[in-house]
């Protein structure tokens, strides 16, 4: 089974659910999408280097095999999930600042 494909997509879905659950509304903020675009832009050379050298080697059994340059498409979902979770929790804890 293409486990990485499944897990990467699931991580994005979980991030969307967490944003709703915590009512952080990060996904509705234009600042979030600008920041996400900036990070995806810089992700291409760094992730490209990691996968092109290659420093990280992927098992073809666990992904679809679709790549942008050298980067598996799953890495874009994975990275988007990672930054989205971070910013959701950051917003959440900022809002609870008084409690910290």
């Amino acid at each position: 089974m293409r486990e990485y494909t499944v897990l990467a997509v699931v991580s994005v879905l979980l991030a969307i659910l967490l944003d709703r659950r915590l009512r952080t509304r990060v996904l509705q903020k234009v600042e979030f999408w600008i920041a996400a675009c900036v990070m995806i832009f810089f992700k291409i050379p760094s992730n490209g280097y990691l996968t092109g050298r290659p420093i990280v080697l992927y098992d073809p059994d666990h992904l679809m095999g679709v790549r942008l340059w050298t980067i598996p498409i799953e890495d874009f979902f994975y990275g988007f999930g990672l930054i989205t979770f971070t910013i959701i929790l950051w917003e959440y804890f900022l809002r609870r600042k008084g409690a910290l």
Binding site: E3, Y4, L7, V30, E31, F32, I34, A35, V38, M39, F42, S46, Y49, L50, R53, P54, I55, V56, L57, Y58, D59, H62, L63, G79, L82, I83, F85, T86, I87, L89, W90, Y92, F93, L94, K97, L100
Partner: protein, 105 residues
């Protein structure tokens, strides 16, 4: 070169780290929220990564890592999540600062 993965991490971190001190974002004043959000993301991602590295989803080229491993993952891979979560918070706050200043003008 065995330092290459580490150099990539340094390259990702360099400008955000320097700019976080130059721009008046006052991230240091919110270090608790920062540690909590970074930690609560790193823990599940480290877990995910350690499990799937063991399952063989990906591996690390021994030519480009220092060779120090913990739970089957190179130390660089552990640092990766600390770097990316920090850069995410910095980038978001930098964008908020720039957009906020424009709308106030």
């Amino acid at each position: 070169m065995r330092t290459e993965y580490l150099i990539v991490l340094g390259a990702i971190l360099l400008f955000p780290l320097v700019l976080s001190f130059i721009m008046p974002l006052k991230l240091y004043a919110r270090w608790r929220a920062m540690v909590l959000s970074m930690g609560l993301v790193c823990i599940p991602y480290w877990t995910w990564d350690a499990i799937v590295t063991a399952r063989g989803h990906w591996s690390f080229n021994p030519s480009y890592v220092l060779g120090i491993t913990f739970l089957g993952m190179p130390v660089e891979e552990w640092l990766f999540f600390i770097v990316i979560t920090f850069v995410s918070i910095f980038t978001y706050e930098a964008v908020r600062f720039v957009v906020g200043r424009r709308t106030r003008q």
